[in-house]
Symmetry: C2
Subunit: 340 residues, 2 copies
């Protein structure tokens, strides 16, 4: 089933490319390489068996102590790969410390988590499972749970070899492989980058021009329109919010306090509320605050509207996910403990 | 996309019917009408637009106060339409009073909820949204939330007419229409009923014979193998569990205390743990307890194994669900309040 989703992604991207070729005859030539934002490319070299297993694990709440919270609870693929809450809800309804970043296009990030403490998706995937404030399980218990379910054991063998004994490293590798498929090509902005000159309205194009000229592009650039650097929150004016350690937690440097990974702006229309603390509810508010505290720029209502209009063109095709059917627990599977 | 899932369901059922015809030439004729269990039939007269809207609502956690709990949280379509917990987790991690029944094949139930207090799926759908221990929202707030989202407003107009102002009745009608599609045809048992003589092993057939002869079939019969009557829990021996009001909450009759709607046994392999209190973790345990307290029958290990083997043949094709992409909140949409 997963093949179908990936095939669709590729077909759409190919369609966009063909459209670009066709239009190049009549429109002024447009070269994506001239822009600081580049189109999202479909994923390459995906191991489909591993990704399909990873999809099951991504949706399986038995990786949590309660049996109620899965990766998809806070990175909901119905809602832009996020939970649309200021901070997430963890085991026993604990309030998380930080806004849940979108899983969409997260393979393009330079590192994972707001402070970049995980090098890649695989390293990230192990974190929430064992975090007492999130899924509140342990890696050992997660592996034991999976090993008690014959259909999982068979699927791990199929993917990792017939003599496999399930290990955490395989669990996180499979989840990461699935997450690599979660890209969102074919946004209207990418259609424009690829040569469809009428894909954007004049207001949206003016918004993009403002976005570049006023300096947003300095941090929000590249394929993910962000995600590729760490920056201080509050360069010109201090950010009004709770103190936060940010990147300093990783580097140990005082200068990195309140420094965070720049979030991707891909699908930003879907990933509200904004910032590490989820304090900005709307795009208008986020653009206003960013302009002031990062650039010393006070956008007029009209300018703000145009930048927001541009940002909405970054919503790409959302991954087509066929809900996995999870293999049932066996009589030997330890039962979840939501209330212990 | 939903069309595809329904078309697949129909194609499978048609395939099974054709197989039955083909086999009828060489196998002893088998008439489903001779058995007290009848095959699940694909749904008829589905309004696809309404069902597709209902699918979005079923997966939308914004129908809860917290923005975290959707219908699918407790009726998880990855896990047999249940949450596989003894009792559900509600708003602020409240412990629910009763086991969450499967939504699969629930259109076949004589009434909804364990005590049958809702006449049909539409009446049921409104319950959890406004239950302070479940989704903890209100019907007014739910409707206001939907009315603030332009893409929802358009979809309600498309389904219910261009002058529609969203009402709870439409919300629940759409959810109910989606739930009507959640049937699970083509189990191995149904294949056998429809003429595929070798669909069951000798042990499974003996299990079915025992299931009939020892009296389970008196309550677990028909298309859903249950769901069509109310029965007292503990006819021969009292059930050892917390006191429960059961059907008496609806009828007001003392005699109906500890009486519940007989649950469907379709997909019972997936809907553990069992009983209204989720106290039986395994099928073996459930069969043992039911035999003793309902029938005065102490099954041997071998008999128990055979009945369980039969029960596992009732797992049908799970609905193919393409995860809906939910329309984003607008700037005017009230934000969820998970921690207030």
């Amino acid at each position: 089933m997963h093949l179908r989703s990936i095939a669709a992604t590729i077909a759409l991207a190919a369609g966009a490319a063909l459209a670009a070729t066709a239009i190049a005859q009549t429109s002024p030539p447009s070269s994506p390489l001239d822009e600081p934002i580049t189109p999202i490319l479909p994923p390459k070299q995906i191991d489909l068996g591993k990704a399909e297993l990873g999809k099951k694990l991504f949706f399986d709440p038995r990786l949590s102590k309660s049996g109620f919270i899965s990766c998809n609870s806070c990175h909901n693929l119905s809602m832009g790969g996020s939970d649309n809450l200021p901070t997430s809800i963890g085991d026993r309804w604990q309030r998380g410390p930080i806004n849940s970043p979108t899983v969409l296009n997260s393979s393009l990030n330079v590192a994972q988590f707001w402070d970049g403490r995980a090098q890649d998706l695989q390293e990230q995937a192990g974190g929430p499972i064992a975090n007492p404030a999130e899924m509140a399980f342990s890696h050992t218990l997660a592996v034991d749970m999976l090993a008690s379910i014959p259909a999982y054991v068979r699927e791990f063998r199929q993917v990792f070899g017939v003599n496999t004994k399930i290990e955490l490293e395989q669990v996180t590798a499979a989840i990461a492989e699935f997450e690599k498929t979660l890209v969102t090509p074919n946004s209207r902005f990418d259609q424009w980058l690829l040569g469809k000159a009428d894909a954007l309205t004049p207001d949206e194009l003016e918004g993009y021009k403002l976005f570049k000229e006023s300096g947003c592009i300095a941090c929000h650039n590249g394929e993910a329109v962000g995600g590729n650097s760490f920056q201080k929150m509050g360069i010109v004016e201090p950010y009004k919010g709770e103190p936060a350690e940010g990147r300093a937690a990783v580097t140990g440097k005082d200068a990195d306090r309140f420094s965070f990974k720049v979030p991707t702006l891909r699908n930003v229309e879907l990933t509200y509320p904004y910032f590490h603390d989820g304090a900005a509810q709307t795009l208008a508010e986020a653009v206003d605050i960013m302009g002031r505290i990062q650039l010393g720029r006070h956008y007029s209502k009209e300018e703000n509207d145009k930048i927001v209009a541009f940002l909405r063109t970054l919503t790409g095709d959302q991954p087509t996910i066929i809900l996995p059917i999870l293999p049932p627990s066996s009589d030997l599977t330890p039962r979840p403990k939501p209330f212990d």
